[in-house]
């Protein structure tokens, strides 16, 4: 078996598995998609285990797999900043995220912009904030 056959078969098998999981998952614990919080926040029903895997998967983006390795290859250890960056951002998240989560649950915020509009009573700031959130 040549190299390209191996690569293509691995890709096809994994693609089939994840496509199946995607369609299968859409039936699992189905919510009412007419509500925005069902679609955007999984109906606020994600437990600790699912939230753990969701946050973990958030780290493995195209940036992690393509941008950082190629940056290290091109410029060297400068791009290793991505590793301590992860260790530090989790400290910031630990300090602020639980309070935001609790407040969002009480007042029914769906995005960060909802929180900004309510907390600072400013529509302009809310729109500017939504641009900053990626």
């Amino acid at each position: 078996m040549s190299d390209s056959t191996t690569v293509i078969s691995v890709f096809v098998v994994l693609f089939a598995i994840f496509a199946f999981l995607g369609f299968y998952g859409s039936r699992w614990r189905k919510g009412d998609m007419n509500h925005l919080h069902e679609w955007a926040l999984a109906g606020r029903r994600l437990g600790a285990t699912l939230a753990f895997f969701l946050v973990g998967a958030d780290l493995y983006t195209a940036y992690t797999f393509v941008a950082v390795p190629s940056g290290v290859f091109a410029k060297g250890s400068l791009y290793f900043f991505a590793v301590p960056y992860v260790a530090m951002t989790f400290a910031v998240a630990l300090a602020f995220a639980p309070k935001l989560w609790k407040l969002s649950k009480e007042k029914g915020y769906i995005t960060g912009s909802d929180f900004v509009r309510d907390a600072f009573d400013s529509r302009t700031l809310s729109i500017l904030g939504s641009f900053l959130q990626e």
């Binding site: 250890s77 290793f80 590793v83 301590p84 992860v86 260790a87 530090m88 989790f90 400290a91 910031v92 630990l94 300090a95 639980p98």
Partner: protein, 70 residues
């Protein structure tokens, strides 16, 4: 400000400062499995910071259950 709040802040700030202070780990030796100190120290820190973060979470949860404003 209670002493426990200072302790909780230190549990988050000290790991950040250690990660920020590059001169602390900007060395080649000692190597570990051929990897320079600079690299393996930062990877090791990923696992070590879990300890203070877990302690912070535990304290925050206990303060929350006490009903105190943390």
């Amino acid at each position: 400000m209670r002493a426990i709040h200072v302790l909780m802040a230190l549990l988050l700030i000290v790991p950040i400062l250690i990660n920020f202070y590059t001169p602390l780990y900007n060395y080649v030796n000692p190597k570990f499995a051929g990897l320079p100190f600079f690299y393996w120290f930062q990877i090791m820190m990923l696992f070590i910071v879990v300890i203070p973060y877990l302690a912070f979470t535990y304290l925050a949860k206990r303060l929350d259950e006490e009903g105190g404003s943390s």
